[in-house]
Symmetry: C2
């Protein structure tokens, strides 16, 4: 008798690897200028400061053991202080929860807030990691389009008027990934009002808010309504290898996330959380560090948008890149960016086609370009190559 190989769970049939990740594997060739990644620039990360903090943490035994599921206490205190300033109210420790990057907050919140079949409204084009987390929880997902003012809240109002009752509305309010836009104060007020009127949760996913170039981002949606869960992260301002994200949420949400985190991975790393706490607490150093990152990214963003607009003119509409890491380009002449990609790769440039971010199809004439990891001349070369591929 030959041994029987056991099956995997049936629900895996619908799961596929992220198109972006598969693409990244193809674009790792050195001769390709990749605007396809979504990574911050490692050269700007505070390596020496992290080494000093690691040394300090490892000078005693307190960073070696399992830590509390909601995060190492002193890190949560630093985060409560920072978030109190950002939200304009006193944020309590019980409202702060540290996760293994923001992605873990999305995954655990999807379990905590959503019964199977519950409706989640996302921005369209959407942050792919959020789609993965909501789909894994069995949610029904509906997209609301973006414009230059961020989520088109009047489209959300139409859904509500039609009788749709979302359990969660997800927004990347600042410097959207992939859309590049920021939600206006007027739209933020509208979203907060709708959340309280209709009783849905808002997840305000904000990894990029501090990476503004000319003007700070508007006050968070979370400063305008009590049922907004705010997510942020050290990945874009310090280093992703800390795996430190955090959530500010009402205490019952934090307690429910805590129960699930125990089953998911027990707790985070006391070592990387102590490193993060030291760097985030040193506000004078941190301000200077983030200023430097802003300066570099801002110059690169301007170089990329300038090159795109000068090269393609009326053929494209390009987001303003007022912060964050991404530019969204719409080809108004109907260029098919899925079909263009092999030619672009052959010409030595990579991007992510808009269709990779579509909730229900669409965005076939758009692309996301990331400006963080190449200098201005390289970004200009990338646009030259893209023009060459377009013929």
């Amino acid at each position: 008798m030959s041994p029987i190989t056991p099956p995997l769970a049936g629900k895996l049939d619908g799961l596929h690897s992220s198109a972006i990740r598969d693409l990244l594997k193809l674009t790792a060739r050195a001769e390709v200028v990749s605007l396809a990644g979504g990574l911050p620039d490692a050269a700007l990360m505070p390596r020496e400061r992290m080494a000093a903090a690691a040394d300090a943490a490892l000078s005693h035994h307190g960073c070696l053991q399992y830590t509390e599921s909601p995060g190492w206490g002193p890190l949560r205190e630093v985060l409560a202080q920072r978030e109190s300033e950002g939200l304009g109210r006193s944020v309590g420790l019980a409202e702060v929860f540290v996760t293994h990057g923001s992605q873990q907050a999305l995954a655990l919140l999807a379990e905590v807030l959503l019964d199977p079949g519950a409706l989640v409204v996302v921005e369209d084009p959407a942050y792919v990691g959020a789609l993965q987390a909501f789909r894994a929880a069995g949610a029904r997902i509906v997209g609301v389009p973006l414009d230059a003012e961020g989520m088109r809240t009047e489209a959300l109002m139409t859904l509500l008027a039609e009788g749709e009752r979302p359990a969660v509305v997800h927004t990347v309010s600042n410097f959207h990934n992939p859309g590049g836009v920021t939600m206006s104060p007027r739209r933020r007020a509208e979203l907060a009002r709708l959340a309280e009127e209709y009783g849905f949760w808002v997840i305000e996913d904000d990894p990029y808010g501090e990476l503004w170039f000319d003007n700070p981002a508007p006050a968070p949606v979370a400063s305008r309504a009590h049922n907004v869960i705010r997510l942020s992260s050290a990945s874009k301002i310090l280093s992703p290898s800390l795996r430190v994200g955090w959530m500010v949420a009402p205490e019952p949400v934090c307690r429910a996330v805590e129960l699930l985190k125990q089953g998911a991975d027990l707790c985070g790393s006391a070592l990387t959380q102590q490193i993060a706490a030291e760097l985030l607490a040193d506000t004078e150093w941190l301000t200077g560090h983030i200023d430097q990152v802003r300066g570099v990214y801002g110059a690169r963003a301007k170089a990329l948008t300038h090159a795109t607009r000068s090269r393609f003119g009326d053929r494209v509409r390009c987001s303003d890149a007022a912060g964050g890491m991404f530019v969204w380009v719409d080809f108004l002449d109907g260029t098919d960016t899925d079909r263009l990609l092999p030619q672009a790769l052959a010409a030595g440039v990579a991007y992510v086609p808009g269709s990779a971010f579509a909730v229900d199809g669409g965005y076939r004439s758009a692309m996301r370009m990331c400006f963080t990891t190449a200098d201005a001349p390289t970004l200009e070369l990338a646009i030259d190559r893209l023009a060459h591929a377009l013929g």
Copy 2:
């Protein structure tokens, strides 16, 4: 109109905090000798070696960025080498997957291997973290009792003969938590044979295998059948703050876990994975380090079992503590360990009542004691206090 507070998901109603964690909060008073924890001894963790490895990792930018979802390549190579030796065959890189501690492997495997309602067989008393992960996936859980030879495979055979068809059988094969016992070679062979005959997955959860005191643990179940997924961890031999666990599994299982890990938390920490890789690759140093931990834990285990047996004699049956971190004590006189706990705490000693590990009730006359974090005189004092509480 007052704002509407949105609800949480209905499935949370059945979730409760781990009894052990809640208890730990109560026993943190300095005057209580706690045998209730399940923590390795931080004083034995290689703090200085970790600091040197952190320095080396942070001397370049390669540890700052997001890393691959299956783990940092060189760490997976070191693990493949170690596991090849343990399993007596060449383990390929594609079979090795790094998780955020072993608990994450359990949580992701529960999603990958189990459709809702699928049957999971666990050892009873059970590892609580595994119960949490399997319950979260909606599994039906049936316990099979332990004896001095580990899982009673004849009870599993009875279940199979009755027509039960488990999707997964979970075992802590070495130095069981909480049962303290090790599965005999005969039972391992029997479990492997049943897995291949009936086509179920075995999850061989092995965080303690290297912590043997007098004799090495028997060859893994995973060396005897192809559908065994082996889990291990750096938490008990190095430090839990690395958050490095790993899995050796057939490639399709690793690929499915990879898809889910992208949604769960994207990837682990390149920094702590580089530290782990350096320490695990230095086999000469590592052997000496683990020998030292074994020596200290072995002496403590002997002190605790000796004190328990001399103090309580025929009143108890006590596991042999041939390795790992735990002793399981059965009170043959019917002592109710749930009811005893408040008196024990008043007398200055804490333990975890057996009922906390029961799959379907039971073990009301048993307790788990952890011997890792107190020296011999303190462990003897703890047993004196327990005798005092028993009256």
